[in-house]
């Protein structure tokens, strides 16, 4: 299908790539279908986009947390992960939502609520981690600069 988007122009979306968020995500509970847009020019890029298939204006910047925080281990109840149709953590992709304000140095990442994607069946959710050490707004700019220089 062709999708008109606010940030990425007209996109060709393959049905089998569409991710299904059964309950949407907080703030966008009516948006249940998204696609993951990766950086085609740079395969190693830690950044990606979660683009809504139902609303071309809705897209969230994502980052692969492990590139900057290899020890990142959000505690999510097994039963919630099982809702995605798997018990295996390795079958899941993990991304975290990035907020990028006007001044990029102020960008923050939500480590408290990762996006989990079952790569095989395309079921996805935003789950809230039970461990208290992760916050919803973690300043990540310096960590990115450090790692990518």
């Amino acid at each position: 299908m062709m999708l008109e988007t606010k940030h990425f122009g007209t996109l060709k979306v393959e049905e089998e790539k569409i991710l299904n968020f059964e309950t949407g995500i907080p703030g966008f509970s009516d948006n249940k279908k998204f696609v993951l847009l990766k950086n085609e020019e740079n395969q190693d890029s830690p950044f990606a986009w979660l683009q809504s298939v139902e609303d071309g204006d809705v897209a969230l910047a994502l980052v692969n947390p492990f590139m900057f925080y290899p020890e990142y281990s959000p505690e999510i109840r097994d039963e919630l992960i099982e809702e995605l149709g798997t018990k295996e953590e390795k079958e899941l992709s993990v991304y975290n939502v990035l907020v990028v304000p006007q001044d990029v140095k102020d960008m923050t990442v939500n480590l408290k609520a990762p996006i989990l994607i079952n790569k095989k069946n395309k079921r996805a959710m935003q789950a809230i981690a039970e461990n208290s050490e992760y916050g919803v707004r973690h300043y990540i700019y310096e960590d990115i600069k450090e790692k990518l220089k």
Binding site: V99, V100, K112, A127
Partner: protein
């Protein structure tokens, strides 16, 4: 929104399998026990609202910020 009054140790059942019991009542704080299937997430509202807020802020990214993000890599 449904408003019910409960005394200490009384409960509410939501649907078939969620039960909320008033465990303790103090002047400014009520302690609740929640019995729900493990697959049903239960959150303090403030946390949920924070996630909601951050998601909306994330979706509110400007074109300038997108360009800057591309330049970082």
């Amino acid at each position: 929104m449904l408003a019910l009054s409960r005394k200490k140790n009384e409960s509410i059942i939501i649907g078939d399998d969620i039960e909320i019991t008033i465990v303790d009542v103090q002047a400014d704080q009520v302690k609740l026990a929640i019995n729900a299937p493990r697959k049903v997430p239960v959150y303090r509202k403030e946390i949920y609202l924070q996630i909601q807020q951050e998601n909306k802020a994330a979706a509110n990214i400007s074109e300038i910020s997108i360009e800057k993000l591309k330049n970082i890599k």
